[in-house]
């Protein structure tokens, strides 16, 4: 594992390896820069080296400043996909969570080059 963060009440768990990033939980950190900068930095480093990369989001809630962080991450991923990296993004949401489903649908058009899949789950 290259980089990990423990899940807290306000922040999701983050697991970053050579070929995969998994983000699980709720995201409304007190300081979004403090939370997001190491993730963005480490993902950028990984994308520079890998040819295949999978991203899994299992979020239950995120606030507006976290949305900004997600857009930054998505842009970086899509740029990498445009540059030839095979990137698959999976947006998983609880089947009865309309809010996360709608957010996932909105994010879809952020990707021109990477593949993006919406995946409902019974429980996250």
């Amino acid at each position: 594992m290259i980089f990990t963060l423990e899940r807290t009440k306000r922040t999701p768990s983050v697991e970053l390896s050579e070929n995969r990033l998994v983000v699980r939980g709720e995201c409304y950190p007190e300081n979004i820069a403090e939370f997001s900068e190491p993730i963005i930095g480490n993902v950028r480093d990984v994308l520079d080296k890998t040819e295949v990369f999978e991203v899994i989001f299992e979020l239950l809630y995120f606030n507006s400043s976290s949305a900004m962080f997600l857009f930054d991450l998505f842009n970086m991923l899509d740029d990498a996909a445009g540059g030839g990296c095979d990137i698959a993004v999976r947006w998983r949401y609880e089947a009865d969570d309309d809010s996360m489903e709608e957010a996932g649908a909105d994010f879809e058009d952020a990707f021109e080059h990477a593949s993006y899949v919406l995946e409902p789950r019974d429980e996250l």
Partner: protein, 334 residues
């Protein structure tokens, strides 16, 4: 969104030659389009969050209303003091108790079983609820803690969870009992409407003493109540009282004697108590007729003539006649 940083934008602009190439213009345009999209998504996200918050606020308000309605219903089953202690967080709801000097009051309706046997259930319910409502309103007015209703009987105590001191608690209790007796006289004509031939009469017993007060029962079902010898004595005094009488122990009398007119009555043999118990009656109609000041031992009593029986009045008259004759003879001899 480093791209939004003015320094970065400035650098991008600086990097463009005086005559930008088509590719460079396209790059800036793409960045602009991406930012525009991001902004639109953010606004959408904010709108959705706002909508969700409004929905959550509406649900919370609805739940809060439901809880308020439920607690209003629950309040009817609890004494107001106990209700506020629990709901304002002052009293932890657990199986615990403490020993305190309380004034305990018992009352019941004279011949209620006989009366209720001859009444239809609906009439009986209406009549009993009317009676209990009238008495409860008075009790609450005097700051009583209503322990429980047992059929027609009412158990009340003063001194927990709020106390104004042992003396004031006892005075309030006796004054409450007098107000109840007065109210019953005021509504004596009402009972005919319920089909009763004669007005309702009640017995009242009061004792001031140490009791154990708190929550008793199990963790699943508990009652806030009082137990102990003091409670039993109040119940015995109530049983021994005559219809319409407020009978109290010496311990209560000692607390109220300077405030409430009392008459000592016969001692009673109370079950569970080794010694006979001195009893005192609280006079209800003090203003009704003249009063006799009497010194008996160290007790100074003011007895309204109206509370004395014919036999007692005759005995006093005889004593006074003898005394007057003795005084006359002494005066003549001098």
């Amino acid at each position: 969104m480093d791209d939004l940083d003015p320094d970065v934008i400035q650098k991008l602009i600086a990097d463009i030659p005086n005559e930008p190439t088509r590719l460079e213009i396209e790059k800036v345009f793409r960045e602009f389009q991406r930012l525009k999209k991001t902004l639109a998504r953010l606004v959408k996200h904010a709108d959705r969050t706002e909508k969700k918050l409004e929905q959550a606020a509406a649900e919370a308000a609805e739940k809060s209303q439901e809880v308020q309605e439920l607690s209003k219903q629950l309040a009817k089953y609890l004494s107001p003091q106990i209700y506020s202690q629990i709901f304002e967080g002052g009293q932890h709801v657990s199986l615990s108790s403490s020993r305190k000097k309380l004034t305990v009051f018992f009352s019941d309706i004279v011949d209620f079983t006989k009366t209720s046997d001859s009444m239809e259930s609906e009439e009986l319910t209406t009549m009993l609820n009317f009676y209990l409502t009238e008495m409860t309103n008075i009790a609450l007015e005097y700051g009583a803690t209503i322990d429980k209703y047992v059929g027609d009987a009412i158990v009340i105590f003063f001194g927990d969870p709020e106390s104004l001191g042992v003396k004031e608690d006892a005075i309030r209790c006796v004054q409450m009992a007098r107000a109840m007796a007065t109210r019953l006289k005021q509504i004596s004509n009402t009972w005919q409407d319920f089909g009763l031939e004669r007005p309702l009469q009640i017995r009242m017993g009061i004792h001031t003493g140490y009791c154990t007060v708190g929550n008793f029962g199990s963790e699943n079902r508990m009652d806030y109540t009082v137990i102990g010898n003091g409670v039993n004595l109040a119940a015995r005094l109530e049983s021994a009282a005559k219809p319409g009488q407020i009978l109290m122990s010496f311990d209560t009398f000692a607390q109220v004697k300077d405030t409430v007119t009392c008459v000592e009555r016969d001692q009673i043999q109370a079950k569970g108590f080794a010694d006979d118990v001195r009893t005192f009656e609280a006079v209800v109609d003090e203003d009704n007729g003249s009063s006799l000041p009497l010194n008996i031992g160290q007790n100074q009593l003011t007895i309204p003539v109206s509370v004395l029986s014919l036999g007692e009045l005759r005995a006093i008259q005889k004593s006074l006649q003898i005394a007057l004759e003795e005084i006359g003879k002494n005066i003549e001899a001098r």
